[in-house]
Subunit: 497 residues, 2 copies
C-alpha cells in the first residue's frame, strides 16, 4: 500500500529522490539539469512565495522585473562577481533558427543571426539591476531603493539534484540601494531576520544565523549573512543568504548620488535571496519513510476528510460535507475525498505520502456513536473524539502540529550539535553513524584560526566546511583544531548540501 519508499537508513539519498518523485513534487525534464515542478510541488512553493512576499512588502519592498539576459560586457563589469559565476553561465549566441539546408524538418541556428555581443542568461541579477539603478539615482531623495524580483535563474551544474541543485531554478532576489553604509548593513541584517523568521514559523525549521567566511562569500559582496539548517542525515543546508555589497556594484556601474551636503558619493547596496532549494530543505528536514511531513502553514491541503463508504452513505456524506464547510469557513484548506474508486486504506497511504497534516475519517459506526477519528501525520497518532468537538479539535491541532514539527527538528539539531576541541575527534564525529542508522556528522562547533588555508585543508580532508560564524556565539578563547593557532570564537562546521 505504501509506495515503497527506500527507507532513510538504507539509502538517504535514494529516499529523497524517490520521495520527490512519488509525492508528485518534481521530476527531471528532457533538458539536462532542469526540473519540472509538478502541481503539488508548485502549490507548496506558491505558499512559500505568498508568505515571503507578504513579509517583503511589510518591510517596505516592492516587486519589479528585470531582463533575463545580461550583455556580456555588462556582466564583466563587477569583476569578482563575473569571475564567480562565469563557469556556470548559459550563453545565448544567436537569435534565430532556420531550416536545415539538407535535412527536412530540422532546424539550425542561423549563422546570420549571430549576435555581435553574446548574452548571458542571468545567474543572478546584480549587474543588470545596478546598471538600471544608475539611471534611477541622482540624489539622496531617490534612496533607498527597496526592490525585489521573483524570477528564474540559470547556473549550469554538472551534478544536479531535484530542488537542491538544478541548472534552472526559481527564486526571489532583493536588490536594495542606500545612502549610508549603516543603512545597507541594517537592511542586510533585517532580511536575514525575515528569512530566519520565515524558516522557523512557516517551514518549522530551526536555523542558525551567521556570517560566511571570506572564502564562502557571495562573489562581489563585502559580507554574506546566511541561515543554516540541519537535515536528518546530519548534513547542513544553507537556506537563505543576505549580502552586504558595500559600494562594489556602485563602483563597477558608476552609481553615485548627491548627499545632503551636496557631495557625490557611491551608493551602498545589498542583495538577498532564497530559492526553490527551500523545497529540498523542507522535505529533508521533516519527512519520514512513509512520505512527506508538511508543516500546516505550508501544506496545500491542511486537512483531508475521508468517509468510510459502505451501503447507504447519504447521512455519512452529509456529515462530511458539513465538517468540510465548517473547516473551510475557518480558513482551513480542506479536501473531502469521497471518491469510491479507491479504498480508505489506499487513500490513507496516499495522503500520508503527500504529507497532509491532518486526516479525518468518518464511518457509519462513528456516526452512530457520535465519534470521529482524527489522525496526525507528523506523529502518526490518532484519536477518536466526540463529533461535537471535531471542528474545535482540528482548529487547535494545526498550530500544535506546526509547533510539534518545529520542536522535533530543534531537538534533533541539539542532539546533533557538538563542541569539539581536537581534529581527531572532529574527523571521527563526521564518520560515526548514529543509532537511527542514517545520521552522520551534524553541526560541529570548533575553533578555527581564521585563515582560508586552514579552512580549505579541513574541507579537503573531511569534506566539512565552515557553514558560518554564528551571530549568537559568544567570544571564547581557544585554539584552532587544525593548526593549534589561537582563535577568538568557535565557528560552525558541517558537511553540507
Amino acid at each position: 500500500m505504501s509506495k515503497g519508499l527506500t527507507p532513510r537508513r538504507e539509502n538517504y539519498s535514494e529516499w529523497y529522490n524517490e520521495l520527490v518523485k512519488k509525492a508528485d513534487l518534481a521530476e527531471n525534464s528532457s533538458v539536462r539539469g532542469c526540473m519540472v515542478i509538478k502541481p503539488y510541488g508548485y502549490a507548496i512553493w506558491e505558499k512559500m512565495q505568498q508568505q515571503l512576499d507578504r513579509m517583503f512588502k511589510d518591510t517596505g519592498h516592492s516587486n519589479a522585473y528585470f531582463p533575463l539576459f545580461i550583455p556580456k560586457s555588462l556582466f564583466e563589469a563587477e569583476e569578482k562577481n563575473a569571475e564567480g559565476f562565469a563557469k556556470e553561465c548559459a550563453v545565448v549566441t544567436h537569435y534565430r533558427l532556420k531550416t536545415h539546408p539538407e535535412q527536412k524538418g530540422k532546424l539550425i541556428a542561423d549563422p546570420e543571426s549571430k549576435l555581435e555581443e553574446e548574452l548571458v542568461v542571468r545567474p543572478t541579477s546584480e549587474a543588470v539591476i545596478w546598471n538600471t539603478y544608475k539611471n534611477w539615482i541622482q540624489s539622496y531623495r531617490d534612496l533607498p531603493i527597496l526592490v525585489n524580483q521573483w524570477a528564474n535563474v540559470v547556473r549550469w551544474e554538472m551534478r544536479t539534484r531535484l530542488f537542491l541543485r538544478t541548472a534552472e531554478f526559481l527564486w526571489q532576489e532583493g536588490h536594495t540601494a542606500h545612502a549610508t553604509r549603516e543603512e545597507a548593513l541594517a537592511e542586510t541584517e533585517q532580511m536575514l531576520q525575515v528569512y530566519a523568521e520565515f524558516a522557523e514559523k512557516y517551514m518549522a525549521l530551526p536555523v542558525i544565523k551567521g556570517i560566511k567566511t571570506p572564502n564562502e562569500r557571495f562573489a562581489g559582496a563585502d559580507e554574506t549573512y546566511c541561515i543554516e539548517a540541519l537535515m536528518q542525515d546530519g548534513k547542513a543546508l544553507q537556506t537563505g543568504t543576505s549580502h552586504f555589497l558595500g559600494q562594489n556594484f556602485a563602483k563597477a556601474f558608476d552609481v553615485k548620488f548627491l548627499n545632503k551636503n551636496n557631495q557625490l558619493e557611491y551608493v551602498w547596496g545589498t542583495s538577498w535571496g532564497v530559492s526553490t532549494r527551500l523545497m529540498g530543505a523542507l522535505i529533508m528536514a521533516h519527512s519520514d519513510d512513509n512520505g512527506l511531513v508538511l508543516p500546516p502553514n505550508l501544506a496545500p491541503i491542511q486537512v483531508v476528510i475521508i468517509p468510510i463508504l459502505k451501503g447507504d452513505n447519504t447521512k455519512l456524506l452529509e456529515k462530511c460535507h458539513e465538517i468540510f464547510q465548517q473547516l473551510k469557513q475557518l480558513g482551513i484548506s480542506v479536501k473531502l475525498d469521497d471518491s469510491d474508486t479507491q479504498t480508505p486504506g489506499f487513500k490513507y497511504a496516499e495522503y500520508e505520502l503527500k504529507g497532509v497534516p491532518v486526516r479525518v475519517a468518518l464511518g457509519q459506526r462513528d456516526l452512530e456513536n457520535n465519534t470521529i477519528e482524527i489522525a496526525r501525520r507528523d506523529t502518526k497518532t490518532k484519536e477518536i473524539i466526540s463529533l461535537d468537538n471535531a471542528i474545535e479539535y482540528v482548529k487547535q491541532l494545526l498550530p500544535a502540529i506546526q509547533q510539534g514539527i518545529y520542536n522535533k527538528a530543534l531537538a534533533f539539531r541539539k542532539e546533533n550539535t557538538v563542541k569539539v576541541d581536537n581534529y581527531k575527534e572532529f574527523k571521527e564525529i563526521l564518520e560515526i553513524t548514529k543509532p537511527n542508522g542514517y545520521t552522520q556528522g551534524g553541526f560541529i562547533e570548533a575553533h578555527w584560526d581564521g585563515t582560508t588555508e586552514t579552512e580549505e585543508k579541513i574541507k579537503e580532508e573531511t569534506k566539512a566546511t565552515i557553514r558560518c560564524i554564528p551571530l549568537e556565539y559568544e567570544p571564547e578563547e581557544g585554539t584552532c583544531i587544525y593548526t593549534g593557532k589561537p582563535s577568538k570564537r568557535r565557528v560552525l562546521f558541517a558537511r553540507a548540501y
Copy 2:
C-alpha cells in the same frame, strides 16, 4: 506642473511611450528589446496576475513550472509550431564563460563548453510540456490535465515597444490535455470566456470574442479563439488567445491514453495565454493627456488622501489618518500623502499622471465647514461633500468609476465600429482622422470571401487585417468587399498592434 506629455492628437505613439516612462511603468533596458518593469508598473501586473490566477483556480486549474530551455530536437517535433517560431528564437550554444586569453577582465564563451545540442529559450512551451505529459498520461483516469504556468518567454523582435512587443515578456500559459475533442473545445471556449470576463470586469475593457482566420492561427493549433479590443487611436489590440490544439501535439509527442473501452487514442489539447501586453492595452484604452487612467479594480492605489498643510496641522492630520483607517478597513487600497516636501498642486499632477482613481483633499477650511473635496480621475470632476458622508461616498464611487471607464470605452468602440460594403469606403475609413484628432480607422465589419489570398491582399494594400470572425455575428449573405465573391457572414477588420 504636468509632466508635459505629448498630447494624443499631436502624436499618439509618442504619447504612449512617454506615458509608460513618466508614469514609472516600464523602461527600456541595456538589453536589446528587453524591458525593465518598474515597481509601479509591476504592481498593476501583480493585480492582474492575482485576479487571473484566482479565475484559473476557480475553473479547476493548478500551477506548475516547466523548463526555460527546450532542446532543439524537441522543439522541432511539432513542425508547424517550430516553423512558426523558428525566426524568433534565442539560442543557447555554450554553458560556460572563460577569461579572454588576451584581454584582462574580459570573458568569452568557452569553446570547450559548446553544447552538443543547442537549447532554444522558450518562445512558448507546448513542446516541452507535451513531452512531459507523455509520461503523465496512461489512461483516461489521468485526464484531464489542467495546468497553468506563470513564466517569462522570449521571442526575438526587431522593432520593440514597451509592453506591446518586447523580446522577453511575462505571461501565463495554460496547457490542458483531454480525453475527447468536445471536452478540449469546451475548455478552449471556457478560457476565452475567462479572459473576456477579466478584460471587461477588471480592465474595464470591452472585447469582441472571435475566431482567427487560418492565416492568423497559432502555429500548431486547429483553431485559435481570441479577444480583440479597440484602442483610442482606432487600432485593434489582441488581448488574449485560446487555442484548440486538436491532437497535433499529442501526435508530435506520441501522447496516447487508454480510453474506457481499452483502446489507445491520442490526447486532445488546448493552450491559452495572456501576457504583459495587457498592460499596453490597459494604458492605451483609457488614459488621457494628463496621464494614466486606471480602473479601480486594478489600481495599486485606489484612493489618495492629500492634506492641504498650513500652520498647525495636528487636527487636520488626525482627521486624515482617521479617513485613511476607515477606508483601509473597507479593504480599499489607500495612500495618505502627508509629505511636506511637495505642494498639493504638484501632488495632484503626480497622482493624476499615475492614474489614481480617487483623490481626497482636506484643508483647514474644510475641517471648519465639515466638508471634503473628492475628485475622480476618469472624468476629472470634483465634488465638495459633507465629511460625514465621505467614507460611504468613496466606497460607492469606486465601482461607479470602474463602470464609468468601461462605459466610456464601450461607447468609443460603438462610435468607431462601422459596417462597410465596398472596398473604396473601406480604404477611406481607415485613413479618415476623427474630430478628436487622433482616432483613425476603428473596427470595420465587412464581408470577405474566406480566402487567405484576399485577406493578404487587403492587408498589403491597407495594413488592415482580419482581427477575427466574431462569435456573436449572425450569418448574413453578402459579397466580399475585395473580390465580390459570395460571403456568408461579416468579419472584423482593423489595423492592429
